[in-house]
């Protein structure tokens, strides 16, 4: 188990630890001081005691020294046996001859060297040496040496340390008990505050309040905490309120949206139905146009042949006016026929067959020019190489034929010039067919693509009013656009776009389904 860092232990333990550390430090210092004091006290006492012993012996051996009575001196010294710490004693006469020696351990015959040269004492590593003069009538008659071991110090210090240690242990134990009780005064409110804080953060219950137990800093902290909780609670309430409002609004909006959606769906359905109806009507119309045109063709041809026959058989019998009107009839019949043909072609354009292939537009343009056989005064110029695209060849032929024949038909200049070209853009081709004809006023830009609309009277320029409409239908079929730019008197340029291959194919397919649907 890893020992936690001091910063990480609980406040409770921290407080106890601090109190314990402080008291143990104080205690140890006190104990140390006491032992030191005891050490010096014992030393002092030892010196005093040894000095007293020396004094008594000196006093009692005066006569023995004076009369140099070794036996008596020895007997006096032997009394030192009662003092356990004295290990050696010696009495010398004035001329420093040893009179008597005492060794606590009789076997220890080793000569105890005494280093003191004059009256006094000194401590060596393991002994206390003391020298005292033996005085008689103010005169030094001899010397007494005493040597004491230091077991007293050792025993004293050991005893003091032992007793001190036991007392210290008891004090530490009691301090621990007291401090672990008393630390609650400080840690209690903090812990309860921490508990409340934890509770609040866990359960998000901001209505909880910490209980204030005192008026100190912790009390202030608890006040501040409670105030903070109060504010959070207020804000929480406000937030909840706002949230509810927001939810309500979202609900309302959702309902609105749903309604709108429903309406839209309904509209959509209606639209779809309308489209379906329209498509059906359209198809019906196209079919009708086709059938009608087709069916009108036969009687018209009959009328034409009849008119022809009348002209051939009754030319001479008819006056000039009759002939003129007959001619008019023939002409109108031809116009009718071309109109019907135009309607037929137009109605056929909407019906795409599966005849999609790679169509080289250069070839298409070449064929168209051959087909039209333009008059000599009009030059048709292909300005650059045209692309090859997937399409129905017939459509492309109709496209260019209508545009080119339009340009030739309305040409009013003695030297006509028609230019064909193409510009490659990002995802489509932009084609143009420009002429130097009369031009078109801007207000007619849209009208020219409407069916049966011609800008000139039928009598001036023979036209059905179907050509440009069909061009637009084909371009639209291929997802392209068509528009015109013109300057009256100078000429017009028809632009149209065809999307590039791959996309074209896809959209084409889509177009087909749409048309079929």
């Amino acid at each position: 188990m890893a020992i936690p860092r001091f910063q990480d232990i609980t406040i409770k333990n921290k407080l106890t630890a601090i109190i314990m550390l402080t008291s143990v430090t104080a205690l140890l210092m006190g104990l140390g001081a006491f032992i030191t004091w005891e050490y010096f006290d014992i030393k002092k006492n030892m010196v005093e005691s040894l000095s007293t012993h020396a004094s008594i012996i000196a006093d009692n051996t005066k006569a023995a020294v004076v009369y140099e009575n070794a036996d008596d001196a020895k007997e006096m010294l032997s009394a030192l046996r009662a003092a356990p710490s004295i290990i050696h004693a010696r009495i010398c006469t004035e001329d420093n001859n040893t009179l008597a020696i005492f060794n606590k351990d009789p076997n220890d015959a080793s000569v105890h060297l005494l280093q003191i040269k004059k009256e006094g004492y000194n401590f060596t590593r393991d002994s206390l040496n003391l020298q005292k003069n033996i005085m008689l009538d103010n005169e030094k008659i001899g010397t007494i040496y005493l040597k004491s071991d230091l077991s007293n110090i050792k025993h004293g210090v050991t005893r003091t340390a032992t007793i001190g240690g036991i007392i210290a242990a008891i004090i530490i134990f009691v301090t621990f008990l007291v401090s672990s009780k008393l630390q609650k005064i400080i840690s209690g409110p903090i812990l309860s505050l921490a508990g409340v804080a934890k509770d609040v953060s866990e359960h998000k219950d901001y209505s909880t309040r910490a209980l204030k137990q005192s008026n100190d800093e912790v009390g202030q902290l608890i006040d501040a905490f409670n105030e903070m909780l109060y504010e959070i609670q207020e804000r929480d309430l406000e937030l909840t309120h706002l949230n509810e409002k927001l939810e309500q609004r979202v609900k309302e909006r959702t309902a609105d949206l749903m309604n709108a959606n429903k309406k839209l769906e309904k509209l959509n359905r209606e639209l779809e139905q309308t489209v379906e109806k329209l498509t059906a009507a359209n198809i019906e119309l196209a079919d009708f146009a086709h059938i009608a045109a087709h069916d009108l063709k036969a009687p018209l041809r009959a009328i034409g042949s009849l008119a022809g026959m009348i002209v051939e058989d009754y030319r001479d019998k008819l006056d000039e006016n009759g002939q003129k009107q007959l001619n008019l009839l023939t002409q109108r019949t031809e116009r009718m026929s071309s109109l019907i043909n135009g309607i037929l072609k137009y109605s056929e354009v909407g019906q795409l067959s599966n005849g999609q292939e790679q169509v080289d537009l250069n070839q298409v343009v070449e064929d168209t020019i051959l087909n039209i056989a333009p008059p000599e005064n009009i030059e048709i110029k292909v300005e650059n190489t045209l692309p090859t695209i997937i399409s129905e060849r017939t459509h492309m032929l109709q496209l260019f034929q209508n545009l080119l024949s339009n340009a030739i038909k309305y040409m009013d200049k003695p030297q006509g010039l028609v230019k064909i070209g193409c510009v490659e853009e990002d995802d489509f081709w932009k084609f143009y067919v420009s002429d130097n004809g009369p031009g078109i006023e801007e207000k007619y830009y849209d009208r020219i693509f409407t069916i049966f609309q011609t800008l000139k009277r039928r009598d001036e320029v023979e036209g059905t009013g179907i050509g440009l409409t069909m061009v637009k239908k084909i371009v639209t079929l291929y997802n392209g656009k068509i528009w015109v730019e013109s300057k009256v008197g100078h000429g017009s340029t028809f632009f149209f776009t065809l999307p590039k291959q791959k996309k074209e194919a896809k959209k084409h397919a889509k177009l087909q389904t749409n048309i079929v649907g």
């Binding site: 005066k62 006569a63 023995a64 009369y67 009575n69 008596d72 008689l136 009538d137």
Partner: protein, 209 residues
């Protein structure tokens, strides 16, 4: 024949000379030993003063000297000369010599000398007074005079301290009863050192070594 007698005579003379020479050497040696012995005895005598307490009337003030009396034929020679200036208990010491008892008696000065004897603090009774010890002690025994002797039965005759030789070493014996009679207090230390202490019939004899 004559030559034989002469020879014998010569031999005797030679022997006498040699013997007398030897004898003179021995006498000299004996004298030297004697001188050493009395040096020690003199020191002992001086030191007795340290361990004996006189009654107040005799201790008096410090101006009064301590008087050591010597009665009889003085064996100390000039040993005291070296101790002349030594002070004991802060007092100077005076040596007073008295004529032998017999002589004092014959000269008729015994009465007048008695007071002087009583005045002494210590009275050394020389071995020459062997026959008159009783009489001398009788004079001073109640006057707080420490009587010191060096003869047999000195203590039995009422003396207080007696020098006794033991294996050529000077020692002493004490008669405590006599000391009490003289109102002298003898230090226990001194008593401990005594070879024997005589006291009220029972006699303590220290173990000889």
């Amino acid at each position: 024949m004559i030559s034989k007698k002469e020879m014998r005579l010569k031999t005797y003379i030679l022997m006498f000379v040699v013997l007398s020479l030897l004898a003179s050497v021995q006498v000299q040696q004996a004298r030297a030993a004697e001188s050493k012995e009395y040096q020690i005895k003199a020191a002992f005598l001086y030191n007795f003063i340290q361990f004996v307490e006189w009654p107040k009337e005799k201790a008096a003030d410090s101006n009064q000297p301590i008087i050591i009396g010597i009665i009889g034929r003085d064996p100390f020679g000039n040993v005291f000369e070296s101790l002349k200036n030594k002070k004991i208990k802060g007092k100077s010491v005076i040596i007073k010599r008295f004529k032998p008892y017999e002589e004092l008696k014959i000269n008729g000065v015994l009465e007048s000398t008695s007071d002087e004897l009583k005045n002494c603090h210590v009275l050394f009774i020389c071995s020459s007074e062997n026959r008159n010890i009783n009489q001398i002690i009788d004079i001073v025994k109640t006057s707080s005079v420490l009587t010191v002797g060096e003869t047999h039965y000195f203590l039995e005759n009422g003396g207080i301290i007696n020098f006794e030789l033991e294996e050529k070493k000077v020692r002493f014996a004490i008669n405590l009863d006599a000391a009490n009679t003289a109102k002298l207090k003898i230090s226990s230390q001194l008593l401990r050192l005594a070879k024997r202490v005589v006291q009220e019939k029972k006699q303590t004899k220290k173990a000889d070594k």
